[in-house]
Subunit: 387 residues, 2 copies
């Protein structure tokens, strides 16, 4: 391929990298594209974190062919190394200079860095040529190191990385660096979004008996059910944002009712029911999908499959699916955890109640999805236990 | 410049575009870079919105030289045109095809589109050659149209855009398209973040007499003061996120005190004061700067310059600057708007009070910044009046 076509391809790769929304997928894509670009058998990527580089991606065709993808992946663990001139990735991160090494077993005594053979030994692999490139963003920060291993001729011979590749790979690494920087920025926006929603949702339940752990569990239960209902990845993620806001309308219910230690009168219960309407009002009319979906959940998470829920008495599929999902997640959590008026029920009892109430309170397809994802439900249940 | 260098430059432009966080700056940058790349005297950019294209950027060196930048900019208004084959931008948006026109006054009768001469007539300008390029993102969506006008030779002669430019400009437009798509995505994340914070802040004050308009005014007052204190653009924007959360801790104060119609007892007032501590607790210990700053504001917005505020009784510059800013914004709004226990005071009276309390309650430098930005303060005051 001539240089002009390489350059063209580089622009297309740049476009592909810039458009990847998820950091983890982006990092895999960077290594894939760089390997393809340089005919590298293997490649890995380190991200800088303060004075360390963290090993985050590894791809190795030879090992994949030998052991299959599962085994290939399981061989790697994320680890960090100090940014020092002694290891290769650290050297590149600290100097910002590219290394093109013909054979890492033949490093001259004049270089500072050493090649660590432990991976080769434990995997019966032979690392030979390496092109190690700093990923420098537009603020001149080294955000990571891209390490390409064993450039292959068509006949399978391992050769040194061509000199031509150096500049192009350096360009690719710069594009990748900016893409990484922007992906991190997006993820931090999203994370603070989620965190804020969670904090305020917890605060809104300040006066209620619910806890931070309830919010964490029920939003994860909701996401798991959604996943097993076949929601898209994006919609599943959306659940993590929207489900926490289901009870936000309790802000509108007076203390005297919300915190009443005794049984509520009928009038008081009617007042409590209004938290669904208050919640929808708080969230009403947004142009943002997240907030629109949260509004739907707030208004519909107390509806029942048989039409005997509130506030509208909707039945069956007239109840928005998100509301049906959150209804089950919310009740499962209420039953399976301790509240001031009841102990945590044993799981068998909770499961019996849910099965019994399916078709009346709960949508059968939602309950099915819940049980299909039960292993994951249990992981959440065990991770966020009340102490 | 040879094609390889152009290609190199294109990659660098791609990096620059991908790293621009703000959509409006990005759009200006796209037109600038594309003009530089093609020696175009003028250029404009349209974004697609449903079945329309919206005219969003215009740059014109000739008019800038003739009238100065202010006048040049003031000549343009954002407007929309239907995506139809009749106008040039609409034609390119609907077909996804690039147009390279030697002289728009000499369009053949075999083409569907027409050139609209009204701009030329009203500005005494002569549009001649045009390169009009669709901005197609990685999902094959036309997100906009880039219109380059009058390619110039070094001697100032207007010539047709070189054929060589077509493919390169098309590439640049694709990179720009992805950058625009991602910038829109980021802005929508940010906007929903802001909106959510605002809604929940309002909800948190559900039981209080404060209103949505109070939140809108006081966050804008805070941002204006911050700007005139020399905060960076990013920090000023941050104020819009963080200031609304100043009273979030009121969620922890019981109705019986918060909503008490009569004068509070000393004990009750001590309870009210705790909203600063509750707020900080809700927001405590985040790794996100936005939430950390909101925590600072929650805990410090009732401190006074002379040390007689609460909860800590900090004085002078020991009070975090954000807290000093929000203190003034909050009090100014309380005085200048109607509350259930008082009418809105006339502005002169409010200003007198603020001046009198400066050096005791308020930081003098914050009050100075407030008055430096007073025109903007008044704009906000008038835009978000209680009806």
């Amino acid at each position: 391929m001539d240089e002009k076509r390489k350059m063209d391809e580089l622009i297309n790769i740049g476009i592909a990298l810039a458009s990847e929304k998820k950091l983890d997928k982006l990092l895999e894509k960077i290594v894939e594209e760089a390997r393809r670009f340089t005919n590298a058998d293997a490649g890995s990527l380190y991200l800088t974190e303060g004075n360390f580089v963290r090993f985050v991606v590894s791809q190795n065709d030879t090992l994949r062919k030998r052991y299959g993808e599962q085994k290939e992946k399981s061989g790697y663990l994320s680890f960090t190394m100090p940014i020092s001139r002694e290891n290769i990735a650290g050297y590149v991160a600290s100097t910002g200079r590219l290394l093109n090494i013909e054979d890492v077993y033949e490093l001259g005594s004049d270089v500072d860095f050493k090649f660590n053979k432990s991976f080769d030994i434990s995997n019966n692999f032979r690392t030979k040529s390496m092109l190690v490139v700093p990923m420098i963003d537009d603020d001149k920060q080294v955000v990571g190191v891209l390490q390409l291993i064993n450039s292959m001729e068509e006949d399978g011979e391992i050769v040194a990385f061509k000199g031509d590749y150096e500049k192009l790979t350096f360009s690719l690494a710069s594009q990748a660096a900016v893409a990484v920087k922007m992906a991190k920025y997006r993820e931090s926006l999203k994370a603070s979004n989620i965190e804020m929603i969670e904090r305020l949702s917890i605060a809104a339940e300040y006066r209620d008996e619910d806890t931070a752990l309830h919010i964490k569990r029920m939003k994860n239960y909701s996401a798991i059910i959604a996943k097993h209902l076949g929601f898209s990845e994006e919609e599943v993620e959306m659940m993590l944002f929207t489900a926490p806001m289901h009870d936000i309308g309790k802000l509108g219910v007076p203390d005297s009712i919300l915190l009443k230690p005794a049984k509520l009168t009928d009038e008081e219960f009617e007042e409590i029911k209004k938290h669904t309407i208050y919640g929808a009002k708080i969230l009403a009319g947004s142009q943002h999908e997240i907030i629109r979906r949260a509004e739907v959940i707030a208004i519909s998470h107390h509806e029942k499959w048989n039409g005997k829920g509130y506030p509208k008495g909707l039945a069956g599929e007239d109840i928005p699916i998100e509301g049906r999902v959150v209804a089950l997640a919310d009740v499962f959590d209420a039953l399976s955890s301790k509240r001031c008026y009841k102990p945590a029920f044993p799981l068998e009892k909770v499961i019996d109640i849910i099965k019994k109430d399916t078709g009346t309170h709960f949508d059968p397809s939602v309950t099915d999805a819940f049980f299909r994802g039960f292993d994951e439900i249990m992981e959440v249940y065990n991770s966020y236990k009340e102490v």
